[in-house]
Amino acid sequence: MITNYDVFVPALMGSGASLRVGMKARALGCRKVLVVHDQGLKDVGIADIIIENIQAAGIETVVFGNVLADPPDILVEEVAELARNEKIDGIVAVGGGSSIDTAKGVNTLINNPPPILQYFGYRTDLKPGVPMIFIPTTSGTGSEVTNMAVISCTSRGNKDSVMGPHCLGTLALIDPDLTLGLPAKMTAATGIDALAHAVECMTGGQVNPLSDALAKEAIRDIVKWLPIAYKDGSNLEAREKMINASMFAGMAFSNALVHLGHSIGHSLGATFHIPHGLACALVLPEVIEYSAKSEWKNVAMICECFGEKVQEDATWEEIGALANKLLREFIKSVDIPNMKELGFDLEKVIAIAPMVTGDAGFAIAPYRITAAKVASMLQAAFDA
């Protein structure tokens, strides 16, 4: 197998790293940047610190502070118009995946006419945008180092992705301090999102040794440190390990991509309006069990990252069942509810199966699976 090693975005990592944002933006030649964040970051004071830091470096700021979860295309188009009118020459996104993905969507439209839905999919033929600096404030998305952004398509009622050079940050500033105040529930959901990235990209159709190495390290750290960060949000070591694992998982899936678990996550998210990390966790154990039929070697490796020894003569069914059990136990250990506990209606859950098979990520699944089988996975996960 011949494979690409894609290491997309340079990153500056460490406690306090976000305070270099102004200096770095200046070094990139920016004079007027768009700052993208959500209301929550304004409320906790992080947004203002970043904006002041940028302004102190002699850079003008145009602020968009109303990012919505699962960024809708129409909002992205609106902000892009603001960016074009203001003639900004750089973008700083601070926040979780929604803020960073909004920035990527805006960048796609800086020099390419709207609507954004015409640019869904992997594109290398679009006009480039402006330099972007990404500052994650959750440990989950990995978006700061990937070349894709997930956008909600309002006209079609689903989520799709824009991918390509126009979605690449110029620099990522990875600062664990910014995650210290993340509530326990968010810590769990985003941490499981990072876990989903790592285990899915080890089982898709595009695994490579680099993605495997990054993903294995991410899984080991998440297994050890997420329960600690969940219980004690002020533990800086746990926060540092988690934000690092999240970035590793992001780098891993930049190479290997994620598949069915995310297709299910996108469909559940679009239907039940739940956070992305939670949505991706709900059927993850069943997805990895299904993957074992063709990717049993890597599924065994996932089990080993959980500290479980896999017998050499184990069948793919046994390996898949073990992975399912380990993942389910871990997800429960950080109090992620199942679909029944979330109050979903089983019939409505099963009805999303055809939508799953229409999701872009479905193409990367290790082997073809029918909507009927997806439905049986959803059923199995419903009250697991």
Binding site: M1, G204, A363, Y367
Partner: protein
Amino acid sequence: MWSKLTVNMKKLTVTKDKIEEDLAELGGRSLIAQYMIKRIPPQCDPLGSQNRVVICTGLFAGTKLTTAHRLSIGSKSPLTGGIKESNSGGNAAYQMANQGIKMIEVLDVPEESGLWILHIGADGNATLKDAAIYKGVNNYEFAEAMKETYGDNCAVISIGCAGERLYKNASIQITEFKSGHPSRAAARGGIAAVLGSKGLKAVVIEEPSEKFKVTYADETKFKEVCLQLNKVIAEGAKTDPFSIIGTVATTDISGASGILPVDNFSGKFFGDYEKVGAQAFLDKLKSGGGKNKISCQPGCVVHCSNCYNDPNGNYITSGFEYETIALFGPNCHISDLDAIARMDRLCDDIGVDTMETANSIAVCMDAGKIEWGDIPAVMGLLNELKEGTEFGNLLGQGCEAVGLHLGCKRIPVVKHQSMAGYDPRNTKGTGITYATSPMGADHTAGLTMGRAFDDAGRTGQAYASGKLQVAMCFADSMMCLFAFAHAVPVLPLLGELMAALYGGTSDFTRVATMGVTTLLTERGYNQMAGMTAKDDRLPEFFYTDRSPATGSVFDINDLELEVLFDF
């Protein structure tokens, strides 16, 4: 109401009836699949009395939809031993539609050998005419004779000496719109040999004195949606290299990426690919006074066809396509476009599939029978095919038969049919299509080149192949796939078009379901004919021998192939 002609070659009768209800809302490939599974025993001898040939138009024949007049020909294939639908451009489907004929079924075999023409006159009368005097007459001379007899606008569907000799690589040639050259081909799978076994030399269709009028469920709506679709397709065609240059434009991409087959699918890089590329082709057209941007059927806005002359301005061939150029060219280590054009002309004239034939020649080179790149030697072998010498007869049995006879190690076939102009190690999705298509190694069943993340990678390839194979099933039922490519952004309009013509739901699911049903029916037919999962694999060398151009092997696991058609 559309009619069908039934031609019984044992009784030598022609009857005209209404089209059967189960076929009325089908066309092209979808019609042939449903026709065959019910009416042609899968285990029959392809050249025996139980096999039939179906010649039909597409779902939108008789309407103004651009490229609605593809001609589909179906039969149990003497080459693959399975179901075969081979389609072509040209003016025949257009004239069939003008005559109000949706389908011609050819049944049985004559009791005594002979040769006949099915003639459909301007008055709509269809009769079998004795064609003994045309025995051994090849397609160019034959088409010319028909034009002289029946006028310039008549459409001719004919077989050459290859079909008469029951060659498994024999093609059915169809006259091109305006020029009348028999350069359009229903080439693959050797259906011409089935016509040969039935003694049917040709179907000749005159322009009727009164044109058939299509009955619409909602004519106003149809016209509105049709106009919208035609506009989108015409707009897309404006920047389409197939439209601006021709299918030869593919060489520039396939040559640069190792997809272009070289030296009998050795997987090597061909340094001279630009000599058989788009610019070289355009230069040749200019210097010889040739032409591109020719429509092979009336009303086509893609106009991918061409007319290719020698340097003195004398006509050599038309409908000169990428596949022919790739396989007679770099795959035989040849980079002389004029020489390849002469090979194409000879193939069209005697009526053989250029792909199957060129692959047979490449196998001869690989086995050392003739030298790589030896143009006179190639012409010599093609003349043997034409003359019907002992080796010529072997060449007529297809690439696999030639390769086995000569002990060639690389025989690039699936289901006994040889590959088109794409190396499956470097466009793996196309390799998956080759492996799993009920048609055998057929690129038109789902060419994924440029559609997956990385042509030589594994990711998304099975997905792309699966999606395309379904799409091609319905595209081949309604229009030319080059026009279809531009209709992809507005696919739901096809559902609306169906409803406006036939009535019923306008939901696109109707169209997609037809694609899935067709594919599964074809697979079912092949299974009943005796094919198994083993027939859904590429030859072993693609899995084991690296492509020196890219270092890639065909590393798609069996599981991905086995579950591809789980719907």
